[in-house]
Amino acid sequence: MLGYLAAGWGWQFANAFGISILAAVSSFFFSMLIGIGLTLFSRAPIPGSRAIVNSYTYVFRSLPDILLLLLIFYTLDGVFQAALSAFSGGANVRLSPLVPAIMSTSIVLGAYATELFRAGWADIPAGQHEAGQALGLTRLHSLVLVILPQVYSKIIPHLGALWLISMKETALLSIIGISDIVRVASIGARSTGAPFVFYGIAIIIFIVFAAVSARVFKHLERRSQTTAGGI
C-alpha cells in the first residue's frame, strides 16, 4: 500500500480528498443557508409560503440525488453559456463541473436541513420570541442572539448526521468526471490491478473522516448542552 502511495497515488488521493472536502463544506454551508432561509420564509405571513416550502422538502427528499445531479449537470452549462452570450457576447468561459455538483447536493441537503430547522424552531417556546420582543430587540437581533443559538443546540446531533451525508454525497462527483476520492480509487484499481488496495484506501479515508466528524460533533453537542438546558 505504501508503495503505491509513494508512487504518486498518495498525492492524487490528497488532492481528491481536498476536492471532496471543498464540495462537502460548500454544500453543507449552502444547505444551512437554505434551511434557515426557508424556515423563516415558511413562518412568514405570506400566503402559500408554507405550502411552497412543504412541497420543496417533499420533492427533494424523494428524488434520487444522482438524478438531480445529472439533470443539473447536463442543463446548467447550456443555460450558463446562453446567459453569458446574452450579456457579454460569447466570452469563452467554461463552468467547472463542481458548480452543478455543489448545487445539486445543496438543494437535496437543503431539504433535509429545512425540515431540521423547522422542527428545532417549533420546539422553542413562544415565550422566548416574546421575551426578545418585550426587551425591544429587533427581529434580526432576536434571530441571531436568541433563537438561532437555541435551535442550534437542539439540532446539533442531527447536524452531525447531515454533515456526514454531505461528505458521502461527494462520491457522486465521480460520475460526472470530477477526480474525487472514489474516482481516483477506481482509476487506480483499474490501472494497477490491485483493486483492494485502492478501494481500501478510499474506504479508510471515509471511515476515518466519519470517526473524526463524530468526535467533533459529540464535543460540540456536549459543549452546547452544558450551557443550554431547559427553562
Partner: protein, 246 residues
C-alpha cells in the same frame, strides 16, 4: 407529447427492476437489522461493541464506493470467481441487492437500537412489577414504544433506500434510472427522460409513506400523533413543557 409517452413507456420498463431491488433489500435489510440490533441489545461487551463499530463504519462509506468494490473488485478474487459465489457476484442486480442490504442494515439497526433505548423506564418497570416475563414485557411495553419512537426515522430510512436504488444503474442495472440515463445518452434529450424518472420516484415515495402509515395503524397502534414539524426528525428528547397561558 408523443415523444414523452414513448419515453415514459420505455422508462417504465425499469419499474419492475427498481421495485424488486427495493423490496428485496428492504425485507432482507429489516430482518438482518432486527437481528443485529437485538444482538447488540442482548449481549453487551467487546463483541457487541465491535458490531456497533462495523455498522458505524458502513454508515460512513458512500454506497457508490461499496457498489464499486463489490461489483468491480470482488470478481477479481479467485474465491469469488471459481466457486458458487460467482453466480451471485456476476449479476449486477444481486451485487446491488447485497450493497443496499448492507447499508440498510447499518442504518436500520441503529434506528431500532435508538428506539429501544428511548423506551421510558417507568413503563418497563411497571410491566415487570406486574409479574410479566422478560418476553412479555418486551411485547407489551417495549415493542409498542419502539414502534412509536422509531416510526418517523424508519420512514425516512425507507425513502432513502428507495432513492438509493437509483445508484444501481452505475453498475449497469437497467432500472428506472438506467433507462432514463440510456435515453439521455442516446437522444441527448435531458429534461424529458430525467423528469419522467423523477416523477416516478416521487410517486414511489408517496406510496411508501402511505403504505407505512397504513401498516403502522394496522399493527394496532394509532398513527403517531406528532405535530407536523416533529414528524420527521423526532426531537422528543428535547421537548420541554410548553408555555401555558391563561
Amino acid at each position: 407529447m408523443e415523444k414523452l409517452i414513448a419515453y415514459a413507456h420505455e422508462i417504465l420498463q425499469g419499474l419492475g427492476t427498481t421495485l424488486t431491488l427495493f423490496i428485496i433489500s428492504l425485507m432482507i435489510g429489516f430482518v438482518l437489522a432486527a437481528t443485529v440490533a437485538s444482538f447488540q441489545i442482548v449481549f453487551r461487551g467487546p463483541v457487541s461493541r465491535s458490531v456497533w463499530m462495523a455498522m458505524f463504519a458502513i454508515r460512513g462509506v458512500p454506497l457508490l464506493l461499496i457498489l464499486y468494490v463489490v461489483y468491480y473488485g470482488f470478481p477479481l478474487l479467485p474465491v469469488v470467481r471459481e466457486t458458487f459465489l460467482w453466480s451471485a457476484f456476476s449479476s449486477p442486480f444481486w451485487c446491488s441487492v447485497m450493497c443496499l442490504v448492507l447499508v440498510e442494515v447499518a442504518f436500520t439497526s441503529e434506528i431500532m437500537r435508538g428506539a429501544y433505548y428511548q423506551t421510558p423506564k417507568e413503563q418497563v418497570e411497571a410491566a415487570r412489577s406486574l409479574g410479566l416475563s422478560r418476553f412479555q414485557t418486551f411485547r407489551v411495553a417495549i415493542f409498542p414504544a419502539m414502534m412509536r419512537n422509531g416510526f418517523p426515522a424508519y420512514t425516512t430510512e425507507v425513502i432513502m433506500l428507495c432513492k438509493s436504488t437509483a445508484l444501481a444503474f452505475t453498475v449497469t442495472v437497467m432500472d428506472i434510472m438506467g433507462y432514463a440515463n440510456e435515453i439521455r445518452a442516446r437522444t441527448l434529450d435531458v429534461y424529458e427522460p430525467l423528469l419522467i424518472a423523477g416523477t416516478i420516484y416521487i410517486c414511489l415515495a408517496i406510496l411508501c409513506r402511505t403504505v407505512l402509515a397504513k401498516l403502522f395503524s394496522l399493527i394496532g397502534l394509532s398513527a403517531p400523533e406528532q405535530p407536523r414539524s416533529r414528524r420527521w426528525w423526532s426531537l422528543q428528547t428535547f421537548t420541554r413543557n410548553r408555555e401555558v397561558r391563561t
